[in-house]
Amino acid sequence: MPVVKAVPCPVCGSLCDDIELTIENGKIVKVKNGCAMCESKFLSHNSEHRILKPLIKRNGKLIEASFEEAAKKAAEILADANYPILYGWSSTNCEATRVGLELAEEIGGVIDNTAVICHGPSILSVQQVGIPSCTLGQIRHRADLVIYWGSNPWSSHPRHIERYTTFSEGRFQRSTWKRYLLKVKASIVRKKIESALRRVFFKKKPSTPRIGGLPPSMLREGRKLVVVDVRKTKSAEIADYFIQVEPCKDYELLQALRALIRDEEIDVDKVAGVPVENLEEVADLMIKCNFGILFFGVGLTMSEGKMRNIDAALSLVRDLNTRTKFAIMPMRGHFNVTGANTVFTWQTGYPYAVDFSLGYPRYNPGETSIMDILLNKESDATLVVASDPAANFPQKAVEHLVKNPLIVIDPHMNVTAQMADVIFPSAFVGIEESGTAYRMDHVPLPLKKVVNPPRDVLSDEEILRKILSEVRKLKEKKLVEVA
């Protein structure tokens, strides 16, 4: 049986590229090295929700159509539109995004990617403050303090810790996996003792929770893992230290830390539910580490304060660099959302929410971003590529989205597709189609085509190219008519 090695996993922003797939009769039958998310994607991408033929809505019903017909129909919708939106792009390859940008420019539309609903605020703050960062290997080799803030990698990026951070083996920093195992063992033993004590003494909680002060594990040599979150997540459980922040108070906590690392005094005793003494210890820990890294997730970007939370986090890490070496990185979700931002930026100068309606790129999230346009009811057509906005946008936005002509390019019959007027089935990028994707730290990796797509199913790139050429034909025709 053929085994394909070094396959990048097209699921999350960790973009692990060491997956081994066993192929049998043109099907993936075994996945090695991947996490559960990865396995399920590779093994079940060919589920029953797969679309196999282009569909066009006629009299309220989706009817099978030829690719030719569907492309013509899509082109008509887009070429006529006054303010169309092209949305998605984070779960496809950079090649498709390149064509998407050309199409957006051709039709004078707005093009936006899913960053707008996850790390858009992070980008806006990077544009104000900058960002001291690095590739993930730097962290593996050097970081002795790893902080996850508003992010639960254990569930959202399952192999992140093992491949790149605390449990990975670097040149100058060792893995703390063993320490973790000991800790787990110890906690099992402790739990056993506790339950024994409970049985003997009929007490509910024999050990009182410790207040303040760092746990002994934080005083040890070697890399340390700190988690900051509003609730005790699985990642928090494996951490050496967990800081529970009051919901919506991240900004205050970050700012307080910023003041503390500048050796400023604080008037209040508690910030965001955390005693200032504890914060002082954390600040000290940050200053004293040799190489620190702060990863932040949507828990920080999408909680109250949004972009300004990130402003504070970026500023904190920047300020820390006067005392030691410190880096910061957003935990990007989709496997190629970074790539979408990257291609947008090199072609237009802007990473998302790019408006071509005046014939050149303009950018102002809050004005030219899809959510704002839909909520203001300004668009009159939408093309969605590899995304499912109808499933995760607010009701009001979805209402406007489906009120106007909607074109969907997706391998699956997702919620958005069910409401669409034209649907193109497409190949799974990273499984049935190659191309480039960018890992969360901007490292480009080549996606692999390991099996063939179903018959007649094309790639996003090919479909978009066809639509683009149909749009151009229509425009030429119009020019001739005018002349």
Partner: protein, 563 residues
């Protein structure tokens, strides 16, 4: 297709043609002896200057760091945009234009070949994807190799040949063109927040000095017979007193040059020609550097001229960028790349009234004017570090006209004015010398055999400027010079008229040139190598190379190595 450029004043320094009136014939993208006078398309260039297309040896136009610079600065480009036309794509400009706009703007100035000087090997695919989207010019890019762990380790062990084989592998793997060295040793140190202080300082953990890295890679460069020399951004860049480091750097490879051929290129030399012990006592070290360069033949330089404007600085020199952040308090990006290099970005405004900036401005021009041989120093701004490339015409005017320099000197910081050497320099460059510094010399230093000249068989890249050298005195008419060089009358790329008087007539795609370095005993991909790979990087060996399909128009240049 045939094209005939008639009656222009031709400046082709590689062929020692200095303003002669002659015709240039082109067929199928190459210069030819002659074409059919009747059927060929004709360009009447009478009263105009004809030069080979411009060559830029050092400009940051593509890749991870450039693109992050773009992302960082919406406020820099939102007022400078280009609309889509029937022929061209839209984009934005100012200090870091989007890719299409970069190509168009170079083409308007008559440039046809540009070199992207800094590429982290791990992110090489990114650079090439952007180069694919940079039209109108042929291009190449230099991988950063001075702090690569493999290099540090092999050189530490004195294993020059082994090192050479790995560098050859890397050049081909990343589709690179030259060995780029930035703050050797300092970038690895920066990975843990440190730096090196001189060329004999030890790199933490690796027990090697910048001198050893420079000499080692210089030898490697020679063993591999690479067309360009090592391309060096010195240690201590941007620090007062660093002209000594620059001199040390040049001296340390003095004995490695053979037959008087260049062995090292010191890039954006202005940034490492600072004399003085602090910012207040800063003066120009251009005289000392020029003196050394005038007496030695193993060095070429480029200016890194400063322009008084708002721009974005970006280099692989992480510690330098951090210092710049501390100086300005502006937004700051740092991006360290595992096992290889680092980089940083800081927006910066060069002010006429700032003493330091005015001195920097002066240094760049002093270098260009005090170094006697124009084949040794080339015109750059280290775009966008010293200023955006669109300001090249301004620099040409300063170089050609004492008056133009005086006009600016009048407006700069007073203390800097009194210390500037410029008022004492009378030299005014000729069109011939400008042609050397902006194309012929650069092409020669790069070893680009088909660029920078108009010989039969060479690539038909031509710039025609609407100025009559017989009737225009650049010395007094410096404004005309500026205007003329801003928009070439014609830019011809691969024998096609790509731009005319500032209008892009055709969206021509350029090729990406790279070195196919052939060694007799290439690196073998053993399981051991793969394991080492996995230990050093976080990507698999198989996913590391830039395969040729990444290059839209691939132009490999075969190089036979001596190992």
């Amino acid at each position: 297709m045939e094209l005939l450029i008639r009656n222009g004043f031709v400046y082709d320094p590689i062929n020692s043609i200095n303003g002669e009136k002659m015709d240039i014939a082109i067929r199928d993208g190459k210069f030819v002896q002659k074409v059919n006078e009747f059927s060929a398309r004709k360009i009447d260039a009478s009263g105009m200057i004809v030069m080979p297309g411009g060559v830029d040896i050092h400009c940051h136009i593509a890749g991870s760091e450039v693109n992050t610079g773009r992302l960082l600065r919406p406020e820099d480009h939102f007022k400078d945009f280009e609309r889509k036309t029937l022929k061209t794509r839209s984009g934005v400009g100012r200090s870091i234009p989007s890719t299409f706009t970069t190509g168009y703007r170079y083409a308007r100035m008559g440039y046809t070949t540009i070199m992207n000087p800094s590429m982290a090997p791990l992110e090489a695919k990114h650079t090439h994807e952007e180069l694919n989207d940079t039209p109108m010019v042929d291009k190449a890019t230099y991988p950063l190799l001075g702090d690569w762990w493999f290099v540090l380790e092999y050189l530490k062990d004195g294993a020059i040949e082994e090192c050479a084989r790995y560098v050859a592998w890397m050049m081909t793997t990343t589709k690179g063109y030259a060995i780029k060295i930035v703050n050797p040793g300092g970038l690895e140190a920066w990975g843990s927040g440190r730096n090196v202080s001189c060329i004999d300082d030890q790199v933490p953990y690796f027990g090697i000095t910048p001198r050893e890295i420079l000499r080692g890679l210089c030898k490697v460069n020679k063993l591999l017979n690479l067309p360009h020399t090592i391309h060096v951004h010195t240690n201590n860049l941007g620090k007062p007193g660093n002209y000594l480091t620059a001199l040390d750097t040049m001296k340390c490879v003095e004995d490695l040059s053979s037959e008087g051929k260049p062995a090292i290129h010191i890039t954006h030399c202005q940034f490492c020609a600072f004399k003085g012990s602090n910012w207040r006592s800063l003066t120009s070290g251009a005289e000392e550097i020029a003196k050394y360069v005038n007496n030695h033949s193993h060095v070429t330089l480029d200016m890194g001229q400063v322009i008084f404007t708002d721009t974005t600085t970006m280099t692989a020199d992480g510690p330098f960028q951090y210092t710049l952040y501390e100086l300005t308090g502006n937004k700051w990006v740092n991006h360290d790349v595992e096992t290889e290099t680092s980089s940083g970005i800081v927006p910066f405004r060069y002010r006429r009234k700032s003493y330091v900036n005015a001195i920097q401005w002066s240094i760049g021009l002093e270098l260009a004017l005090l170094i006697e041989d124009p084949w040794k120093i080339f015109m750059t701004t280290d775009h966008p570090n010293g200023g955006p490339f669109v300001y090249y015409p301004k620099i040409i005017a300063w170089l050609m006209s004492r008056k133009a320099r005086e006009a600016t000197v009048q407006k700069i910081n007073q203390r800097a004015r009194s210390r500037s050497l410029l008022p004492s320099i009378d030299r005014e460059l000729s069109f011939y010398e400008i042609a050397i510094m902006t194309r012929a010399g650069q092409a020669k230093a790069l070893g680009l055999v088909n660029k920078g000249h108009l010989s039969v068989g060479a690539d038909a890249d031509v710039a025609i400027y609407n100025i009559n050298p017989e009737t225009t005195d650049p010395s007094t008419k410096y404004r005309t010079i500026r205007k003329t060089f801003r928009n070439a009358a014609y830019t011809i790329k691969n024998g096609k008229i790509a731009a005319k008087n500032g209008e892009i007539l055709e969206h021509v795609k350029g090729a990406t040139m790279w070195l196919d370095v052939q060694v007799s005993d290439p690196i073998k991909v053993t399981e051991g190598m793969k394991r080492r790979f996995r230990e050093y990087w976080t990507v698999e060996y198989e996913n590391y190379p830039v395969t040729e399909n990444y290059l839209e128009i691939s132009h490999p240049i075969a190089v036979k190595a001596d190992v």
